[in-house]
Amino acid sequence: MVLPIYEIRSLKHSYADQTVLALEHLTVQPASIVGLIGPNGSGKSTLLRLLGLIERPTEGKIFFNGLCVEPFAYEARFQITLLPQEPLLMKRSVFRNVSYGLKLRGNQNNLIDRVNAALSLVGLPSENFARRPWYALSGGEAQRVALAARLALRPKVLLLDEPTAGVDAASAQLIKEASLRARQESGTTLIVASHDWEWLYEVCDEVIHLFKGRKLGTGRETVVFGPWQPREDGDCQKVLPDGQLIIVPKPSHPHACAVIDRVAIARGDKNPEVKAEQVVLSGIISRMALEHASGDVVVTILIANVPFSVCLARHRISSDGFYPGCRIWLSYDRPAVKWI
């Protein structure tokens, strides 16, 4: 069995006594691409900072190539690099920004060539950009320079925190391509946090869904936020803007979040017949994305304004005639709803 490049055991991280991340166990295989999805505040950036050895976890251990590591660990600091969500360029030229990490490593061989190659990987010709000062770049260019500074290091692990947030479509495409090329050419392990889940499903070997600092699953789960209103039959419900009801078992508190992960969908004009404990809702398919790892298709259905996710085999998409914009029936088992 291949030794995982990362192994996390009983990890807990807190800010001002507030636990923001709690992961019992997590492994990442070498040269894999792992996606982190989840809403803001779910712990994605915190996890990346801990994996990037920027911060020390409050509790628990992180193993890198089998060795327990901490910030500044000699065994890991030259092999892991993090591109933060809002990368900062240092007050120096583009060339000196990109070459900074190489100089820290004392790696001055072919410095100019390596910097030029990294810049061209992110679509910035060195003859136009290398001499530019840090303040003479657009947001997208600065983001690409920051990525080039990481790619020039040829890291074993590249951690990307929202790499395409706040940049235009062309820059986002270049960033995506350059990141994937690092994996193809150098066997770099990529761990990417992003809201662009279509891209993540397309390229990732594994997608981890984080919610409130905990691992929720693989991203196929639907999380429905409270508040919940009590019903006469003892269950609770959420009334959607179009009048439909999401019915769930009674939660521990009215603002708990329901996790619905076993969802079935069907086409048809009439309301399908279901069992007594099942709930049926009507919605529209809003998105479809091919999941790289399984070859399945992740379908997002909008029920009023609540997005539900379901994973379908590819043949069902064509046989059942699903397409974005198509109206469908969605059903789930009421007792199978979980709470977080």
Partner: protein, 229 residues
């Protein structure tokens, strides 16, 4: 108004003819301010950087003391340094009273809180993301420390200029500790005060122009350094 115009003409004449008394005051000022700013930068930058960079108990109290000392009156420093350097004082044996090094000690005390306070502010106002960026590129603790210092260089330089301006233009310390001795400890500012009292505006204006010229040269040099680095 004529006397001011005549003062300017006399100033140009004094500078162009190489008037020995004028140049003595200029050399004394440049010498003593160079010593004092050199010492205050040497002590103040590391201290100010640590004050801004690290979090520790009592940091806020130290900051308050430093900020208060930034407003120290020059005559009060002059009085304290005089008391220490006079032959009855604890440092009287060194014979530093009425000497340029004596003035430099007083001016260092004047400049030090400014360098420390403004360096600490420059470091504190550094983008918090800088540390993450430097660490994410593989820096060790020492490299993180020095890279952060280098990144805050513009703010620290601004503090150094402010301190140099204060040192160059002070009168109280130079007058009390230096004694305004002709050819010896007379600086530009003490000379201006004396010549104005005597009604010799030409000399006063000449020395004032030199102060302005020195300030201009310092700022030009700093602007060049900022553009270059």
């Amino acid at each position: 108004m004529d006397f001011i115009f005549e003062g300017f003409l006399q100033a140009l004449n004094l500078l162009a003819s190489g008037n020995a008394e004028t140049y003595s005051a200029i050399i004394a000022t440049v010498t003593v301010s160079s010593y004092s700013i050199g010492c205050s930068l040497l002590i103040g930058i590391p201290f100010g950087f640590c004050l801004g960079y690290f979090d520790f108990n009592g940091k806020k109290s130290i900051r308050t003391v430093v900020d208060t000392l930034m407003a120290l009156p020059t005559v009060f420093i002059g009085l304290l340094v005089y008391a220490f350097l006079t032959h009855r004082g604890p440092l009287g044996n060194f014979g530093l009273l009425f000497t340029l090094p004596g003035i430099a000690i007083g001016q260092t005390i004047l400049a030090l809180p400014i360098v420390i306070g403004l360096s600490a502010t420059a470091v504190e106002s550094m983008d918090q993301k800088l540390g993450v960026t430097i660490m994410s590129l593989g820096a060790n603790r020492r490299q993180l420390f020095f890279s952060s210092l280098w990144e805050s260089r513009h703010g620290i330089l601004a503090g150094a200029i402010a301190a140099y301006g204060r040192v160059m233009t002070e009168v109280g310390i130079s007058m009390m500790v230096g004694g305004n001795i002709k050819w010896h400890t007379r600086t530009i500012t003490t000379a201006i005060a004396l010549e104005t009292n005597k009604g010799q505006f030409g000399m006063g204006v000449a020395l004032g122009l030199v102060l302005l010229a020195i300030a201009f040269c310092v700022n030009i040099s700093v602007s060049f350094l900022r553009r270059r680095y």
